[in-house]
Structure formats: structure tokens, C-alpha cells
Symmetry: C2
Subunit: 425 residues, 2 copies
């Protein structure tokens, strides 16, 4: 499909570039032009669609840099519990009953929600990588999966198999080495993942320093913080990063900077599970790139990057007792460019010629976006899902004006999800 999006405000997210009026041209999955409107069209492209954006904002889609899509099943199933009880008494028993087909459907439910929030790629860690990849391909969602191995499920062999298989499955799917967390993996298991990282010279991601008790437990087990311990195994010699990264020391942050790691923050989940407030200002000061993720829908309970954007700065302001902490442009960068880079999606970071057409349109003709004092601040501080007018992934419009253009339609997906929860209750 060749699509022309004109009469738009455009925020490319390229460093130092402000919002300007213009158009974007898309040929198949790629952006072929971003700039001022061209009145005399010398190109001989036949447009399948020309869309008048009516002054609304085009920007790169949000990157949800940490999620567990299949956990839609458990949304509002068990809330208001501490992380360890919640995992052990509620989450794990139900998860043990879920099969690959269940997770296929539950992932598609999450994908519908990502589309409503302008999320064009996800960094997903869950139980059945192949059915997740199928779910995403069938819905048109760009997905980077990460290894989820722990003492109870998956194996280093499966991680390696998926690494080789899913990185060659389709243009929308990729896979990064990873494991669930230090506290759910034996040292032997962790060493095998570190070996894989060395074998493929590839980055590794994991849940890292999410709770105080996790950090304390690691110090008891190994006499080191989770960050220092994993680093001592050579886990991060080829980069990668951590999800959550709430309870980190200055020394840990120094290691992250040295190894070029990403701190992927999940502020809504960290609030809802009372895990704490991540030291975002310290990461920024140290030059550690921060990205944003929703975490799974059972701990958040929604998949909404607008919530994460407001929270990452709001909570940092509270933590630092400083209303100037973490400004809006920095937050937008976390939610787009930094997320893309963390996920290895270097072609889906900004809007520019040759980049992948992962584009969203933000409705500025809504009361929460008026008056137009500062568009980026409006998006971060007052934006909501209600402002997402269009979500395009890989050149395909999958959501527009509240209508889903996915191959599998919402009613069918809702029916399946309710059927699955009824089965497992």
C-alpha cells in the first residue's frame, strides 16, 4: 500500500527537531518522504490512500519496552496484593493451566489495547514464544520477544532455539536473549544464559531490582546487588538491560553506564504493586538511557503508554521533591526512540526517509490538547488513549477513529478471552 498523510503537524523525534507542518509518504512498509508538503507531485506513485490529517500530529508509535501480553487473562483477577503473594498464590497457579493456544488469543486481546494506545511495538516476555509470535503476525503487531527462562519453565536450549527461529520468522518478529529474574533462576542457569550471550555476542534483558526484597535476597545469596552479581557472571558483556530497575545503588548505575545498558521503567506497575519509585533522575544524570513499559496487564492493569509517560515524570518529581525533574521531551524520547533502541529496532525509532512506517496520529482537536501552547507537553502531561486517532505498523493502518482493521476482530477476541477465563477459574 502507498499512503500519503498530508496537512499534518509532524514530530519526527529526531534530536533537536521541532514540530512542523508537512506530510509523510509511505511506500509499502517504509517511509519514503517526511517534510514540507509538496504541491507539485513529480513522483509517479499511485496513492492507495491520501489522508487529510487536519492539522493533527504525526509522531513515531510508542514502544512498550516491557510487557507480558498474555496476562490479559488476569486483569482485575487479583489486585491489591504484594508482589510475592500475587505471583505465588494468584498468578502462577492460573498460568500453570494456560496452554499455547490460550496465550495466542490472550496476546491478541492485548494487541487490540496496544493499538488504542498508539503502541507500535512491544518487548514481550511470556510463556509460549511461538504462539505469541503467531498471534502478533496474525494481528500485524511488531513484537520483540525476550527469553523468559527460570527454574520452573523454559530452558536455555529453548531460548537458543527461539533466538535462531524467531529472528528469522517474519519482518515483524524478533527475539532477544533473556531470563525471568535473578531470584527465579539458579546460578547454573544464569551462567548458561551468559554463555549464550557470549556465543552470539548478543544483549540480555531481565527483570532487575524490581523490589527491595529481591535486592536484599540477592545480597544474602551472593553478597552482591542483583546488578553486580549478574555482571560478575559476564551477563551484560554484550549489552542489554533491566526491567523495573527500582532498587539500584549508585554503583549499579555506574555498571549500567559502563556496559551500555538500558533501564526500562514500569512506573504504573511499580506503584500498583508498591514496589517503589525508580531513580530516573539518577539514570539521566549518569547517561543511562531510560525506556518505558507497561508491564503486564495483571499488574498495571492496563496497557497505556500515556499513563506510563505521566507517571515516569510525576513519580520522579515526587522522589526528587523537584517539579523540574524529568521534562516532557525526555519522556517522549523514552517512550519512542529509547524503547526502539533497547529493543534493537533501529529502523523504527524516528520518522525519517528509509525508516519503517510505524506511525501514530494524535488528535489535537480534542479539549485536552487545547490550546496549543506546547504540543509535546500536551501529549505527555494531558494526552490519553482518547487522543489516538490512528495507529500504523509496518505501513498498515490497524486502528483508526476507534475502528480496528486487524484480520481478527475484537468481538471474536473478547469472546475467546472470556471463554478462557471461565475455563480456568
Amino acid at each position: 500500500m502507498n499512503i500519503r498523510l498530508y496537512n499534518a503537524r509532524i514530530l519526527t523525534m529526531e534530536e533537536g527537531k521541532n514540530v512542523f507542518f508537512g506530510e509523510i509518504r509511505i511506500k509499502d512498509e517504509k517511509i519514503i518522504y517526511v517534510g514540507e508538503e509538496i504541491s507539485d507531485d513529480a513522483s509517479d506513485i499511485k496513492w492507495d490512500q491520501e489522508i487529510d490529517c487536519k492539522g493533527n500530529l504525526l509522531m513515531p508509535g510508542f514502544k512498550d519496552a516491557h510487557t507480558h501480553s498474555g496476562m490479559t487473562l488476569l486483569r482485575s483477577y487479583a489486585d491489591d496484593l504484594p508482589l510475592s503473594d500475587w505471583l505465588n498464590t494468584q498468578v502462577f497457579p492460573v498460568e500453570a493451566k494456560m496452554n499455547a493456544e490460550d496465550i495466542y488469543h490472550l496476546t491478541q486481546l492485548a494487541i487490540l489495547e496496544y493499538l488504542t494506545s498508539g503502541i507500535t511495538s512491544i518487548f514481550d516476555m511470556y510463556l509460549t514464544p511461538e504462539s505469541i509470535a503467531d498471534a502478533c503476525d496474525d494481528m500485524g503487531m511488531r513484537c520483540v520477544q525476550v527469553g523468559a527462562v527460570n527454574n520452573f519453565s523454559q530452558s536455555p536450549e529453548l531460548v537458543e532455539e527461539m533466538y535462531l527461529k524467531l529472528n528469522n520468522k517474519s519482518p515483524l518478529q524478533s527475539y532477544i536473549l533473556g531470563f525471568h529474574a535473578e531470584y527465579t533462576c539458579s546460578k547454573e542457569l544464569l551462567m548458561k544464559i551468559a554463555e549464550l550471550s557470549h556465543k552470539y555476542q548478543a544483549p540480555v534483558f531481565t527483570h532487575l531490582a524490581e523490589t527491595e526484597s529481591e535486592a536484599e535476597g540477592c545480597r544474602e545469596r551472593y553478597g552482591m546487588t542483583p546488578m553486580a552479581f549478574l555482571d560478575s557472571l559476564g551477563m551484560f558483556d554484550y549489552g542489554g538491560g533491566g526491567y523495573h530497575c527500582v532498587h539500584m545503588t549508585q554503583e549499579d548505575i555506574h555498571i549500567m553506564k559502563e556496559k551500555g545498558l538500558y533501564a526500562i521503567s514500569n512506573p504504573a506497575s511499580n506503584a500498583k504493586l508498591a514496589s517503589g519509585i525508580a531513580p530516573i533522575s539518577d539514570y539521566l544524570k549518569a547517561g543511562v538511557p531510560v525506556a518505558l513499559g507497561t508491564d503486564g496487564p495483571a499488574s498495571n492493569n492496563c496497557l497505556d503508554m500515556f499513563r506510563e509517560m505521566f507517571l515516569v515524570t510525576g513519580l520522579a518529581k515526587l522522589r526528587e521533591k523537584d517539579a523540574s525533574a524529568v521534562d516532557a521531551m525526555e519522556v517522549l524520547k523514552m517512550a519512542t526512540v529509547n524503547g526502539a533502541h533497547a529493543m534493537g529496532l533501529h529502523d523504527a525509532d524516528v520518522l525519517a526517509e528509509g525508516k519503517l512506517a510505524d506511525i501514530i496520529m494524535i488528535d489535537l482537536n480534542q479539549p485536552n490538547m487545547q490550546p496549543i501552547n506546547h504540543i509535546a507537553k500536551n501529549v505527555v502531561y494531558s494526552g490519553s488513549k482518547q487522543n489516538v486517532k490512528m495507529t500504523m505498523i509496518h505501513g498498515e493502518i490497524l486502528y483508526m477513529d476507534g475502528v480496528f482493521y486487524t484480520k481478527i476482530q475484537p468481538a471474536e477476541i473478547y469472546r475467546k478471552a472470556n471463554e478462557i477465563i471461565d475455563k480456568h477459574r
Copy 2:
């Protein structure tokens, strides 16, 4: 207008009553029936509209129990500043240039946003009460205004005049005694407000203990906390309450309980301005009713009760380091019933026969509301403006499926707002 809303899930917010399937019947501004669907209609009412709710949720509209609507002008105008700088260097200089007509239009911009968030009444404190009341009447918004007097604007005489005038203006408007804050009012001024309260045996509301420096300043000035000092003037002998209520002692909370005061929390504003986290669990433990407000759009920066609902519990969980703090049903009560009672709207609190028809419809056929494990938790933890399908105030549908049915239409309001900011910049 006589309207029948059928095939609905209904959450009346009456104590102990769960969600059930049924219908609501509205005659003019009042609810005449809430219950199971009646198949044989023995009544001789001719329905102007019969709406199939398709299983979606009807519930009482949200009460935004603290806002400054006219501050839409300053949304994203000056962010990332501490409260005192923000007020003194940014807000006050622009506000000084605003006239009553400006505030009329800017209030209407806010009203559009309230409607998108299912807000059916507001507790508004701002500069020009009469033009605000006109703005609300012309849009169909229920508004309780509160006195905003301080050393620099308004006067006790104006507060009294407005108290008498606006409580008799129209069925949608009312007015409650109040003043801006202890730190912006002389003791003489405060005593005059307390006198008015005694004269009319009426409650008083004010900004209270919003920041640490405010609480400290009061202790320096009067040797008492703001709560204790105001109470010592007899300010709360007829009830009322405080906005924000972040920096309160156990003794202050005890006074609130004794005097039957409301703690109106504004978590998004308190985060964005780095003011702190209110002791919500302490209020609940002490039996002090908590209501929720957005605060003005310049400090939040949006008017979204879904944000406030998630934050009031999320921040309480962080403050208490306890994921079970402040559960979802308590939050819904804050956002509806408690707000209504704080504002004196005893006829607009729950859905029941004889109550005012201030009703919203929440779209459950959206991915963030599926599966249907627990509807109330879904609304609090994963709801967003995108789920607001209908907002009805005083029996009038003002917003439905993204369309505004207000007398004054959005395009005109946006044009005015941008004109006003251009004039004052």
C-alpha cells in the same frame, strides 16, 4: 426529555450493591426507575429516546471535587516548576490580564474535557464566579463554585453576594463559602470568612496543607498547623473541608474527623508539582471521607478522573509500601458519592429513583475492559477517557460516542481559547 437506557450493566454505587443487568428510566432531569428490565411497560410514558446500552456499564457520573476550570489557558504554558515559582512567575501574571469573558470561554474548554472523562459536576474555584456560572449554564454543566477570596482578589463581600446569588441562579449552579488558602489570606480576612460561615451556618472549603512550605509557614506565623489554626478561628464549625490535604498531622486528621470535614485529594497535581503524597490510608482509617479532584489543567495538566483514580490508590500503595492499600471500590466511592456529598449534591450521588440523572456509560466492549473479571476494578485500574461512551447531566445527553451535543460546539471553543492565549502571551 424522557429517556430509557436498557440492556445495561448498572452500578448504582449504593452501599453494598453489586453490578446487575437492567435498565434506567429518566423523566426530565430525574431518574424514575433503576432495576431489572421491565418487559411489559405499563407506564404511559412516551420515550423520546430508547438507548440499547449493549451490556455496557451505567454508573453515576464522576464528581471532580477540586478544579480551576479557567486555567485551561495555561495548560502546558509553564511546566516543570515548583509550586511557588509556577504561581508567582507564570500563573499570576497571566491571570492578572484575564477578564470575565476570557474565563467564560476558557471554562467552556474545560467543560468539553470534563464530558470526555465522564465528569458530571465540578467543584470550581476561580476568579469570576458569574461568568463561570454562565459558562456552565450555557454548556449544561453542573457546577458548585467555591469562594476564592485572598489578599489580592475577591472580597468577603463578594463571597457573600455570590453565595446568595449563585445558589438561586439555576438548577445547575450552586455556591459554597471558601477562600484561596491560609498563606494567601490575612488573619482578618480569614476571620471574616469564618463569620460568614457562622452567619449562614454553612461549610467552608479551602486549599489546605498542599505543600510542606505552606504547613511550615503557618507554624511560623501562628504556631499552629494550617488545619489547627483555621479551626481555632471557628472556620469549620459548620463543616467543609480542604483541597489537597497532603501535609497533615494525626492531630489535624483528628480535627477533620471531629468536624466532619472532607479531604479532597488531587494526586496528579501533587505529583506534577512535587508537593507530596497525601496520607489517604490515614484518612480512611480515621473515618474522614476522601473525595477526588483534578485540580486545574495548568497543574495536572488534564481533567481526567481516571488518572486521579489510578493515582490515589497507586500513590497510597507506594506511601504505605502496601499493595493492598486503598482498594478499588473505595476509590470509586471517592470519585462519585463522596465528591457529591462534599459538594452538597445529595441528589446526585447514586443511581436511584428520585435522584438527578447525572449518569455515564462506560464502554466495556473495549480491550482494556476485557475479560470481565471485575468491572469496578477494571474501571479504576484500567479505565480511561476512551471508555466514556456517554455523559448525561441533569437528564441531558451532552456527549456520546465522541460527539458533543453542547449548545456551543468545540471548534468555536478551541478557536476562542487560542485567540485568548495569543492575546495574553
